[in-house]
């Protein structure tokens, strides 16, 4: 028997591979990114970074309907983007297994909010599994595919940052190596319009099918081994705990002897199992991070329990927080330094090519509508050059709303700033909206040739796809032409050419209509990677050519 130390993300990829997954797709987003990066190394699996999460889920649903198991990965806020297909995929069902990984980020280590995506499982009526360590992440991935096929439904696998990025032992490879089991469904689309074509008449039937499926899932939750009671003696105990995911590990850390109902299937909840456990303990605690999802359900069932009165609803738990909530004294007082050290803030990497554009935007006193990615760091010192940040692609579209109501002294001072990957994800639709509706706006794409913040994933603008295979890249200038932008409103500048950036802002900011400025500077980390692949010179030459071909203010005679 061999063991391996795997992160939660790597374990999900392993489980999916072992389950014979045919398609893996998603959009990069911390903490989910490494799942697909790991799976992409397996030649038997088709993988792609999709343009955005909605696209990824639709590719996944299509694959599942055509009989191939599909794994779709995203961070928690990605599910917002994918919510449209999600809710109706619960109606159509899947044929081959479809597993959607949502990687939530309690404490917002790398996110703009800390939404609890268990709420999506409830709202979309999709079952959800939540593992506690890497071994479970692998097992639950396989279980999720089985559940998906057995009950003809997409299945959520919920991870959190702490699980995705923690490593623990994964064991029991029978022959020293993992084994890929062929998926049980034969590939091939089998037409069934009443199941797959969701016009109202069909959807009404599927709504009822979903309700029937749910009865079966509720029954399954009562007996599935993913939900288990751990207790040392059968008799009544003064205190008991219901928990799941990472908080389970903290409960075991600080109070290993307490009776625990550990939930692996967190939606639907097993009512009889919960009632039976609650009846066997005096005081019942519900230990769950973020929203009181389990607690609220228990209280609706009339089960007395202590949840958010003892444990915070905001941020990530720690062993100390769980100990305090349970009233356990763990003793551990740490060292107390007498010197307070200054905060070390994140920032753009030293020498980042897009450092200059933020300095210029500040110097020009622009109102900057920002976007997701490395460039969000433009809000911090020393730049202090970003005024709004909401969600992927919002920079262009929020700037449009601002411009409509801006008083005269602010018109012409509003700029949107977006990275290349984010532009492809949902910035292009914003550009289209601006052109179509006749907005005035200066939209700046900071193109660094990669999806940098999440660790250098290719994107539709970068000329590569997953695994660094060559791919077509969108030509900004041709895109602008197709959108009827006048040539003098479009230009590219070198990110290191401070003078050119400043002149471009001066020239483009006051002009009417839609203006697109592309600031081109290769990410330093991406540059190091390209150098190792002997592709750096070629890429730099290509980008230099583009800049020369498309100066600000239209082509030179």
């Amino acid at each position: 028997m061999r063991t391996r130390l795997l992160s939660g993300n790597e374990a999900v990829a392993l489980g999916a591979w072992e389950a014979g997954v045919a398609v893996g797709c998603g959009y990069p987003g911390t903490p989910s990114t490494e799942i697909l990066e790991t799976l992409a190394r397996q030649p038997e699996v088709y993988t792609e970074w999709s343009v955005n999460e909605k696209v990824a889920l639709e590719v996944g649903v299509g694959a599942a309907l055509a009989g191939g198991r599909a794994l779709v990965t995203m961070k928690h806020v990605g599910v917002n983007v994918a919510a449209d297909p999600l809710f109706t995929a619960a109606y159509t069902g899947v044929r081959a297994g479809l597993v959607i990984v949502t990687a939530d980020d309690p404490d917002m280590h790398s996110s703009q909010n800390e939404q609890d995506n268990r709420n999506y499982a409830i709202a979309a009526k999709v079952p959800m599994l939540e593992p506690s360590d890497s071994a479970e992440a692998r097992e639950f991935t396989k279980l999720a595919f089985e559940l998906s096929e057995a009950h003809d439904t997409p299945v959520f696998l919920r991870l959190t940052t702490r699980l995705s990025h923690s490593k623990s032992l994964v064991d029991a490879f029978p022959d020293g190596a993992p084994v890929r089991t062929p998926a049980p469904i034969e590939p091939g689309f089998v037409a069934d319009p009443r199941k797959y074509v969701m016009i109202p008449g069909h959807a009404k039937l599927r709504r009822r099918a979903l309700a029937e499926r749910w009865v079966a899932l509720e029954e399954l939750a009562e007996t599935d081994p993913a939900n288990r009671i751990e207790r040392s003696s059968a008799g009544p105990a003064p205190i008991g705990v219901i928990t799941s995911g990472i908080p389970y590990t903290y409960v075991k850390e600080v109070a290993p002897d307490l009776p625990v109902l550990k939930l692996g299937l967190v939606h639907p909840l097993p009512r009889r199992l919960v009632e039976q456990f609650a009846a066997s303990v005096g005081r019942l605690y519900v230990v769950e991070e973020l929203d009181p999802v389990i607690e609220t359900r228990l209280k609706a069932w009339g089960i007395d329990c202590i949840g958010k009165d003892a444990f915070p609803a905001i941020g990530e738990f720690t062993p100390a927080i769980v100990a305090a909530g349970l009233g356990v004294d763990t003793g551990g007082e740490g060292l107390a330094p007498a010197i307070e050290v200054p905060v070390r803030r994140p920032g753009l990497c030293p020498g980042c090519p897009h450092d200059h554009v933020f300095n210029e935007l500040r110097r020009h006193d622009m109102i900057v509508s920002g976007d997701i990615g490395c460039y969000s760091l433009g809000v911090l010192p020393p730049y202090n050059a970003m005024d709004t940040l909401l969600d992927m692609g919002a920079s262009l579209t929020m700037a449009q709303g601002m411009e409509v109501v801006a008083p005269p002294d602010q018109k012409g001072r509003i700029a949107a700033v977006i990275g290349d990957s984010t532009f492809a994800h949902s910035g292009i639709t914003g550009l289209l909206n601006a052109v179509w509706n006749g907005h005035d706006g200066l939209y700046i794409v900071l193109d660094n040739g990669t999806t940098a913040m999440t660790g250098m994933q290719p994107n539709p603008m970068s000329g590569e796809r997953i695994g660094r295979e060559e791919a077509p890249s969108v030509d900004y200038e041709l895109l602008a032409r197709a959108f009827h932008l006048p040539a003098e409103n479009v230009g590219m500048v070198d990110a290191y050419d401070t003078g050119a950036i400043s002149a471009a802002i001066d020239e483009l900011a006051p002009r009417p209509g839609v203006r697109l400025l592309v600031v081109v500077g290769l990410c330093l980390i991406e540059g190091q990677k390209l150098k190792k692949l002997d592709r750096l010179t070629g890429k730099k030459d290509l980008r230099r050519e583009l800049i020369a071909l498309h100066p600000v203010g239209g082509p030179r005679e």
Partner: protein, 199 residues
Amino acid sequence: MSEPVTNVLMVGVGGQGIVLASDILAEAAAIAGHDVKKSEIHGMSRRGGPVFSHVRFGTRVHSAVIPEGAAGVVLAMEPMELLRWAPWAAPGASACYLSAPILPVGVEEYPDDLEAEIDRLFDRVVRVELAAIRRSVPMKVRNTALLGAASVFVPLAQEHFAQALRALSPRGTYESNQAAFDAGRALGGQQLKEVAHVE
């Protein structure tokens, strides 16, 4: 509480190789037959920000996160980061750090008297002078040198570290990583002896 678990906290600044060094330690513990968990956070907050990794091993490890006040060893690639994480260290903890201050962006002056404060807080301290390894240990493997120095506080055999280094060193770098580890371990051992002599 659970059975005793060895808790090693490894901290530094983005780009100093904390993640790889902690992977090597965790792998060594796994090779030695322990249950192992490690925890860190990648992503946005790490661009130039502080980086940390929790490594825990023993008969059975539940939480991947070291409870506050429970780390027995703290390895730091930077002095200020050692102090920042001191509240995670248990009374009587050991520390091993690289004496190479890195000023945070936007901070003008490095705090004074960090060394004295580190000596006061921790029971045993191995201080790796940058000067002592600047020439002999290339920048890229200084993380491994520090791991070697800290290994004198960690109940794992050298052969387990060697196997882990062999398994996890990036291609073509095993020899330089092993050499850096050995150099660090020698420095650590030597300093512990000197402390014992003075006492």
